[in-house]
């Protein structure tokens, strides 16, 4: 199966690989896995409390090229967004941008789940109720 150039670029030069201090109040950590293939993905956001904007995002993914590219792209998109805007990121946006083939759509779903998990962690840490997933993939 051929990967798109964008996937290969994110895979070879992943953006924002790393770790944020998860003990910090303004850092949300999402840890998700794809049981079918054994992929694990950690995605973190750091929110600027004054502006409410996501000022940094980092990820670490152990998985296939598409999973790495999806999470790399997600961290790029997250930076500069408000938490609410971040919530609106849909896995199909990732599919479109990376031109993922149908068999790799679950990688984009994983990235979306990681974003939502990171936001929920941030919300719970800051006294907001956890959001319940409204759409079934």
């Amino acid at each position: 199966m051929a990967y798109s150039d964008k996937v290969i670029d994110h895979y070879q030069n992943p953006k924002n690989v790393g770790t944020l201090d998860k003990s910090k109040q303004n850092v949300g950590t999402g840890l998700v896995g794809a049981p079918e293939c054994g992929d694990v993905m950690r995605l973190q956001i750091e929110v600027d409390e004054a502006s409410g904007l996501i000022m940094d995002a980092k990820f670490k993914t152990f998985g296939c090229g598409s999973a790495i590219a999806s999470s790399s792209l997600a961290t790029e998109w997250l930076k500069g967004k408000t938490v609410d805007q971040a919530l609106a990121i849909d896995n199909m946006d990732i599919v479109e941008e990376l031109n993922l083939p149908p068999v790799k759509i679950h990688c984009s779903v994983l990235a979306e789940d990681a974003i939502k998990a990171a936001i929920n962690d941030y919300r719970v840490k800051n006294g907001m109720p956890e959001l319940v997933e409204e759409k079934a993939h």
Binding site: G33, P35, G38, D39, V40, R42, A136
Partner: protein, 177 residues
């Protein structure tokens, strides 16, 4: 589709009796052997072929404990494709750490201490997995359709996927001794 356990006339079990499985496989192989249907009509030949294929599939599944586990979970409706399954964050965290350990070794493949650490960690996890599953399955037989138990089995089934994935990673770049 005919159930493999029904086909072999065996009770539903995660550990089907290996000798009985083999016996039944040979028995059905003879019964549906194409040579016996040379004189038969087309419909009968097709049916024999279908049964022979089913027999092969059943044997292949029931002689592999992993495949048997997946088969039972699927038959009992626990493996619907759209059904998402998430393991506890603590487990995913452990898998993250193990993967990081393997990455460390990957950047320094001739460091035998790192290799031993990575290999021993994953072997220990797999051994612990096997022990928990054996203990669980011992209580499972005879009631292999009970929902709460099946859910636990499913949990183990997926945990193993992560472990095997890490083991595979080590194998792909492990430097020869």
């Amino acid at each position: 589709m005919t159930d493999y356990f029904e086909l072999y006339d065996l009770p539903l079990s995660f550990n089907p009796d290996a000798a009985l499985v083999k016996k039944k496989f040979y028995e059905l192989s003879r019964l549906y052997h194409p040579d016996r249907f040379i004189q038969a009509g087309n419909a009968q030949q097709q049916e024999a072929l279908r049964m022979a294929a089913l027999n092969n599939a059943a044997y292949k599944t029931l002689t592999n404990s992993d495949a048997t586990m997946a088969y039972i979970l699927k038959q009992q409706g626990l493996m619907e494709e759209e059904q998402k399954y998430s393991l506890p964050a603590s487990f995913l965290g452990e898998m993250m750490d193990l993967n990081e350990l393997v990455s460390e070794y990957e950047t320094d493949p001739h460091n035998s201490a790192l290799r031993d650490d990575a290999e021993n960690s994953i072997e220990a996890e797999l051994k612990a997995w096997q022990m928990s599953v054996d203990a669980l399955l011992k209580t499972a037989d005879g009631k292999a359709t009970e929902k709460t138990l099946l859910t636990k089995v499913k949990d183990y089934y997926f945990r193993r996927k992560y472990l095997l994935r890490i083991k595979e990673r080590i194998a792909t770049f492990a430097a020869p001794e």
